[in-house]
Amino acid sequence: MSQNIAQFRHDFAIIAGWLPFGAKVLDLGCGDGALLQYLKDAMEVRGYGVEKDDTNWLACLSKGVNVIQMDLESGLSGFEDQSFDTVILSQTLQAVHNTEGIVREMLRVGREVIVTFPNFGYWRSRMQISTGNMPVSKALPYQWYDTPNVHLCTINDFDQFCVNCNIQVKERLVLTDNKPVTFMPNLMGSLAMYRLKAATRP
């Protein structure tokens, strides 16, 4: 479900910056494997992708990216607890049905979790809603009737989700056109990037 490969470079670099060198990485919904290939080159990660789409799966294989064909919705039962340094869900959260279940599975399998998603609170989306239409943009290129996105959310929504699910936000970065946004990120930011850990219970 990789959207807008061209726009990715900067978030690729940020993700790389959040990984230890040589990290063991699991990329869920890895698309054509571009991120993993980048991380392999830049950070010498030992990585596996998970992808269910045949065409994307084949693209990963051609790149020499390890890729496991399975549906995320059925969980990560093939992966042991805390067996990865980092589990990544890059621009796929919004297309997942069992959102909470998958984030929990990621926190089980990974010592750290990176989640990125298009911020539905971005002012351009709000503008389009205010004119009476579902937003269509670079980050959300689908029409309402053919979109794979079923769980769009805003940065505020996701912050609240983390609180409700007792997930620790280690770091949060918001981007618009590859540039960091700090002023009113839920309004001004188009891409949200989170670095998460399971919070230790009090």
Binding site: D54, L58, S62, G64, I68, Q69, M70, G78, F79, E80
Partner: protein, 384 residues
């Protein structure tokens, strides 16, 4: 007629081994032959050899034809040839008939040098481990220290897995297709029914039917019919035959449905050309294979032991088919999980296919694209 991208006219060769081979059971074969075929050219540094391991009823005749007028080519001809997914312009491909077989390699129908009679019931039970050992001897014979890849479907996939466990330094890639790390009780149960059909055939004579000039055809035929049911999915059988009748209902036990006609044809054809003693042993090899057994059933630990011993580790491609219920995707995922637990290089494809277990032999475009892409990425030395 030969197609353009066929390996062409091929001929089997025989390798004779005069050293005794101690089998897993403890039995010793004083000497043995392996019959094999090769396609393509072994390159200068001998780094482009690919071994094809056959399943229950396969042979060394994997690709090409013996004469231009042969009705059928080798059993995996759709995969192997110039510019085919397993490209013989790049790879040197070896097909071998396993020990205990009935197509030229030493087996129950061969002559026992001690008695000058066919081995029959005296031929030992051979295992996947024994096959792999004998295959390494064939590799030695061909001057190949390390295989670029071992490829196998079903029981062949077990051999590919076994290569990586027993000889990790001798294989760079394992393609394990429609396979499993061991058989389930249900899967073994089918084998037991097949064997009982053969053993209880009055013409079986305890396995020494050669001396009586008969073969237990009825038993072998039923065994094969049963096998065929399990190799197809319900949907595939439905699409192929459904409830189609050959003619009107006649209220008899003759062939009335198309499905019956198919099963009887397959059974008769097989019983006419395959050796019952070989069939018994092939199914037993399937039953016995269980590399995780010495590790309390933990395949991850079985793989871990190899990881500790070997510097180099084979990379894996594991493929399953959605409608395969005899070697279901869940069983392939067990292999994948054990590989992941050991941080091995592995990709896993679950191919959407209607054909059941037989899908691994079909030229499905996506399936073949997977194999083509994987094999293209394997690095080999310059051609000789």
């Amino acid at each position: 007629m030969l197609e353009n991208n066929s390996v062409g006219i091929v001929a089997p060769k025989t390798a004779h081994f005069s050293v005794p081979l101690t089998l897993k059971s403890g039995a010793v074969l004083p000497q043995f032959d392996l019959v094999y075929e090769t396609y393509g050219t072994l390159n200068a540094d001998k780094s482009n050899a690919v071994l094809i391991c056959h399943a229950l009823s396969g042979t060394h005749h994997v690709a090409g034809k013996y004469t231009e007028n042969d009705k059928y080519p080798g059993w995996w001809d759709n995969l192997i040839g110039p510019n085919k997914p397993l490209d013989t312009n790049k790879f040197f491909v070896i097909g071998v008939n396993n020990l205990g077989g009935c197509h030229g390699s030493t087996g129950p129908s061969s002559i026992n040098p001690a008695t000058q009679q066919p081995w029959g019931s005296q031929f030992p039970i051979v295992t996947v481990e024994d096959w792999v050992t004998s295959q390494t001897m064939l590799a030695d014979y061909l001057g190949i220290q390390q295989l670029a890849a071992v490829v196998g479907g079903s029981l062949g996939g077990m051999q590919a897995l076994q290569w990586t466990l027993a000889y990790p330094e001798r294989v760079r890639h394992a393609l394990v297709i429609a396979s499993a790390p061991n058989l389930t009780a249900q899967n073994m149960a089918f084998n037991e029914v097949a064997r009982q059909a053969i053993i209880t055939d009055p013409e079986f004579h305890g396995g020494d039917y050669y001396a009586h000039g008969v073969v237990p055809k009825r038993g072998l035929r039923i065994a094969r019919m049963l096998g065929h049911i399990t190799y197809l999915s319900d949907d595939a059988m439905g699409a192929k035959f459904g409830r189609k009748l050959k003619d009107d209902i006649k209220y008899t036990f003759d062939v009335e449905f198309e499905m019956e006609s198919y099963l009887r044809y397959q059974g008769d054809k097989f019983a006419g050309e395959f050796d019952a003693n070989t069939y018994l042993r092939m199914t037993r090899a399937l039953d016995y294979y269980d590399p995780a057994l010495p590790f309390g059933g933990d395949l991850s630990k079985a793989l871990a032991q190899t990881s500790q011993q070997a510097k180099e580790q084979a990379q894996f491609l594991v493929v399953s088919f959605t409608s395969d219920w005899r070697f279901s995707p869940a069983r392939s995922r067990e292999i994948v999980k054990a590989l992941l637990d050991n941080e091995r290089t592995v990709s896993y494809a679950e191919v959407t296919a209607a054909h059941g277990h037989d899908a691994f032999l079909m030229p499905d475009p996506h399936y073949h694209a997977i194999l083509r892409n994987y094999l293209q990425n394997i690095t080999v030395g310059e051609q000789a």
